[in-house]
């Protein structure tokens, strides 16, 4: 779905960079200028700049900006610690918290006209999901060694031929469901907003969908983080 106006693409086009006309560019430079790439960079710069502005001088008595981050990061850390244990939470907190913040901001940014959500492209979500999926197997192998295969064998030896295939299928389904869920929800939100803007933007028709969009964006970011934490915790604990 082509957006009506994407201001970063317009600026880059004025600068003389090639903007791909379809969804996927042909040359390397065109690939770098795809909207979801440029908006990913934008979200990254936004997060870094906001973090720098609010946390440049950390004080004992926190101000507004520091208070917000302390609440957010503290809440996230408690949640991780509760679900996957202190050791794993300390080791993996930077990765999962970054994913959570990035996905939340990337989802919400699509609600502003002129921006698009990088997560509305399946490339972004699959990249995030592959990182999570590979990491949870690495955690399992590091925690149990070869005994990690017990996670795939089920509770009783008799059921091994049955359970092995079921576990493998449901493990690969994690890869599919985690990426396509985020992509589908956000793309649906974006497409619906675009269509409503074109049809009846003057009568504030997209407004109720925008309210729902805020809810969907936050819930999807939360679901991604929650499932990541659950997968990591399950890979780390002993087989049932």
């Amino acid at each position: 779905m082509e957006h009506p106006i994407l201001f970063i693409s317009l600026i880059l086009e004025k600068l003389g960079l090639p903007i791909p006309h379809g969804l996927i560019g042909e040359t390397f430079l065109e690939k770098m200028c795809q909207p979801y790439m440029t908006y990913t960079w934008f979200v990254m710069i936004f997060l870094v700049v906001v973090g720098k502005l609010t946390l440049s001088n950390i004080e004992m008595i926190p101000g507004k900006g520091q208070n917000f981050w302390e609440m957010l990061i503290g809440g996230m850390y408690d949640f991780f610690e509760e679900n996957m244990g202190r050791e794993l939470a300390e080791k993996l907190f930077p990765m999962i918290a970054t994913f959570g913040l990035y996905i939340a901001v990337a989802n919400l940014i699509g609600l502003i006209p002129g921006f698009m959500s990088p997560t509305a492209s399946i490339n972004t979500t699959v990249a995030l999901t592959i990182i999570v999926w590979v990491t949870h197997h690495i955690i399992g192998i590091r925690a149990h060694g070869l005994g990690y295969i017990k996670h795939f064998l089920g509770p009783i030896p008799v059921l091994i031929p049955l359970m092995l295939f079921i576990e493998i299928i449901s493990n690969i389904a994690r890869l599919a469901s985690l990426s396509i869920r985020l992509f589908g929800n956000i793309m649906a939100k974006e497409t619906l907003l675009t269509i409503l803007f074109i049809l009846a933007g003057a009568y504030f028709a997209p407004l109720p969908i925008m309210v729902l969009g805020v809810l969907v964006s936050l819930v999807q970011a939360m679901v991604f983080v929650l499932l990541t934490v659950v997968y990591f915790g399950q890979a780390n604990e002993h087989a049932h």
């Binding site: 509760e82 679900n83 049955l162 295939f165 079921i166 576990e167 299928i169 449901s170 690969i172 389904a173 994690r174 599919a176 469901s177 396509i180 869920r181 589908g184 809810l215 936050l218 819930v219 939360m222 679901v223 929650l226 499932l227 659950v230 915790g233 399950q234």
Partner: protein
């Protein structure tokens, strides 16, 4: 008869209660959506992965000589994997703490 003063205090008390309830409901809704909102998609994804694997075995691995059999076997395994992933969702820590809170 209501004086102006008592009316405004009652009014603000009323809105305080409403805001408190709205906050509680919205956090609960977000929590429930986060914990269980992905059930449908996980179930369907498992079935389609199973079916896709079966079709791949039939059409590309055995070149269609075993045509409908691996598709059906894959579909059956996919459905079983879907149900298994439902049980997994019930076993997640988030669901467990919820139960503990409910029973006291």
């Amino acid at each position: 008869m209501l004086t102006n003063c008592s009316f405004t205090t009652e009014f603000s008390e009323f809105w305080e209660v409403v805001i408190k309830m709205a906050k509680k409901v919205s956090t609960e809704v977000v929590e429930l959506l986060g914990n269980y909102g992905h059930i449908g998609f996980t179930f369907v994804a498992a079935i389609f992965i199973g079916l896709g694997g079966g079709i791949y075995l039939d059409e590309h691995f055995f070149d269609g000589s075993t045509s409908p059999w691996f598709t059906f076997i894959g579909l059956a395994f996919g459905i079983l994997a879907g149900f298994k992933s439902l049980f997994d969702i019930l076993r997640t820590p988030a669901a467990k703490t919820k139960d503990k809170d409910a029973t006291g």
